[in-house]
Symmetry: C2
Subunit: 222 residues, 2 copies
DNA sequence: CTTTGTGAAATTATTCACAGCA
DNA sequence: TGCTGTGAATAATTTCACAAAG
């Protein structure tokens, strides 16, 4: 078997789903699991699951399936989930507060260890156990607390500036909740959670499902 | 030019981004806009932008570009954004409260008009101006308030059941914040916002960018 | 008989490149 | 010249289908 390869982006997205389903299955007492079973639970074909897993080597047994615990540990390691990730939150408004209060993150090994806000009214308050710090302390906090991920929960207008400051401070990745595309150097990874986009996509799908199968102007078969 | 066609899923995702950028550009006083300009702002090629827009007919002028206001109106209509969408929120915990407080939704034409919770402790409270109702009132509210979208912000365990009740009540689409795949009839559209998946993808990308370009076991060139 | 791993085929999406219009 | 619309080429992803292994 060859050695180096590139993981398709869709595969990377699904990895997270495999991990969750695997955890649930193990919790439920399952010891072995087949690509069919995994796929059915997630709405994927068995072939898809096998192709995805094959990216990381071969640890299934023909005729038997995968050992759930092994597979799970393997994927956890691949995804860097076998250790914790310290995160800094910037922007303690509505969304920021929800993120601070959302303890599932902690359970999953992602911990917000520092929170920042630009507003003097908010700095100094303690919210969900986090004392909100002024932006000036960002570089120092990233260094001393080994923060690797920045979470942006500011309005769109300040998102790019905050992102730049996070990168300067040394984070390796950014999770962006602001409805704005971030311009970042390629060595910094960016993930986006955009509620408006999610809603608009949904509205679009609904509009298509019902009534006009397309637009009324008509266009070619793309 | 032919008449019916199917919109590629990636195109549907980008439509939302075009709309936002177009709004910003118009706000900034721009009257005409080219595929190059739009693409640069969003990190896409000009060809990509043109191909996407071509799905809905042709309204660009060679040598000139698109009339920003026209294009914007066109996309708004296509996406069903030329009218409001009434939504029901189910689950008024951390995430639910954040969604209620997130007034950007309202600005964008998506309005939460009813909120529900299973817990007797929460039912009856007024949160961000919404009186929380018991689940029993769901069908009636969906009917009388013309609710078309259900937003699920419950724990994973109850998400499927809530989804079923929303569908029974008559919603056409569901926005799911619970970390669980929903099994739905095909005529109901589902959008998912999954924070853990977003974070894990980010962690995965970071792990790959630095150090090992792949896993140490090595696999084939997928 | 079941299920993996995987080439080969099919499908889907993106980029190229250029004719034609302003 | 600048820019759209689009067929043709390319690239990426998924599905098929089957040999080999338990």
């Amino acid at each position: 078997m060859p050695e180096r390869m590139r993981i398709p982006k869709p595969t990377a997205r699904r990895l997270s789903l495999y991990l969750r389903e695997l955890n649930d299955s193990i919790q439920a007492g399952r010891v072995r699991i087949s690509s069919k079973l995994l796929g059915d639970a997630l709405g994927l074909t068995d072939a898809q699951v096998r192709k995805d897993l094959a990216c990381f080597g071969q640890f299934g047994q023909p005729g038997v399936g995968y050992r759930a615990a092994d597979l799970c540990a393997r994927i956890r390691h691949i995804m860097g989930r076998d250790h914790g990730w310290n995160m800094a939150l910037v922007g303690v408004g509505n969304i920021g507060r929800a993120i601070l209060a959302y303890h599932r993150f902690q359970d999953d090994g992602f911990q917000i260890v520092s929170a920042f806000d630009q507003s003097p009214q908010i700095v100094g308050q303690t919210i969900s156990g986090q004392k909100v710090l002024p932006m000036e302390m960002l570089p120092q906090e990233v260094r001393t607390r080994e923060i690797r991920i920045g979470v942006i929960a500011t309005p769109a207008e300040t998102a790019q500036e905050v992102a730049d400051r996070l990168v300067d401070a040394g984070v390796e990745g950014i999770l962006n909740f602001a409805p704005r595309r971030l311009n970042m150097p390629p060595q910094v990874s960016v993930g986006t959670v955009d509620l408006t986009v999610a809603l608009e996509q949904l509205a679009f799908e609904i509009s298509i499902v019902r009534g006009r199968g397309t637009t009324e102007v008509g266009a070619k078969t793309c």
